[in-house]
Symmetry: C2
Subunit: 208 residues, 2 copies
């Protein structure tokens, strides 16, 4: 069976990353795509399910996983909670031919690239700063200071776009979604991928 | 305007490369794809049109173009005729946003990669040796020796598949055609491409 590929997908808040990933998974009738489920030490919020939204673990458990070197990346956020991406679950899915998406920021992406140089990464950009600001304002009744802070954080995230393999501008949603699919398919056509995944055919073709 | 990309497409005879490229160009309603037209010193065959099938030039003219270093690649084939790919025509089309395909073999591909390391290349494989042989036999009433020589040449060409960026197995024609399109689109989403082609947007996004 052909292996799945591992993708990092990053974007500033407001670029539409979550909607794109959701739409992509909805189109996936064969169960060949999934978003990696992170571990966290924070408490479940209402409606959150163990193993679907997060793996909820204690701080002791999390630190044991760190010591066992089972995290591809992890971070302790402001407030003291850990978030991390564990490798074994990802590898199991890749082995089943499933493309796995890591929905993380540029810092997590850097950690993962250091461990897995072959990981592919995609950055989603908004079509303009004005549109980004509109989307960030549209989310609630926040103060100008809060909006400004979000914008500043978004620009900081975007400043890392060129550490990624691909860039999608989410101007037209349907086009951006199609673009994601183009990338996923093209990555299964690279010679690196085909050499191992079509090894039987290639050996047969070159045997004569 | 976004620049076009330059692609090398190679395949053993019988893999279906010409049919795939023809079908691709037929779907291209916007005139954004073309096959590069080669120069040759051989005489036009019935039905061949100057500037469509080849640029027909004299040996003296061809050798002047060589001296001016205007060929991306060229070869003198058995029989003494030259064939070559001239750079200026290609550059003009790329500048107009047109993706240009070079329909050449692995030797031409090597010459071009040496001059233009950024060129992208795609290799088309047949689905099996048996199918390849069937297609090569199907073309005429040739002797077993001629077929065997064609097979040997095909295997020699295929042995270079891993010098290419992408590999498409032409088993199902519609899928292979779709795969070509996935690659063309994905290559317009690479960060290298987007950095220059979406420079205005990116500068605006990061200015804040």
């Amino acid at each position: 069976m052909a292996l799945g590929n591992l993708y990092i997908i990053s974007a500033p808040s407001g670029a539409g990353k979550s909607s794109l990933i959701s739409a992509l998974l909805e189109q996936d009738n064969e169960g060949k795509m999934m978003v990696s489920v992170s571990h966290t030490t924070r408490s479940p919020r209402p409606g959150e399910t163990e193993g679907v939204h997060y793996y909820f673990v204690s701080q002791t458990e999390f630190e044991q996983l760190i010591e066992q070197n089972l995290f591809l990346e992890y971070a302790k956020v402001f407030g003291g909670n850990y978030y991390g991406t564990s490798l074994p679950a990802i590898e199991k899915n890749l082995a089943q031919g499933i493309d796995v998406f890591l929905d993380i920021d540029w810092q997590g992406a850097q950690q993962i690239r250091a461990k897995l140089p072959s990981v592919k990464s995609i950055f989603i950009l908004p079509p303009s700063l004005a549109e980004l600001e509109k989307r960030l304002i549209g989310r609630g009744q926040d103060s100008a200071a809060v909006i400004a802070e979000r914008m500043s954080k978004a620009v900081d995230e975007m400043s890392h776009y060129d550490e990624y393999d691909y860039v999608i501008v989410n101007d037209d949603f349907a086009q951006a979604l199609a673009d994601l699919r183009h990338i996923l398919r093209a990555e299964r056509l690279t010679t690196d991928y085909q050499r191992t995944q079509n090894a039987v055919l290639i050996n047969q073709l070159l045997a004569k």
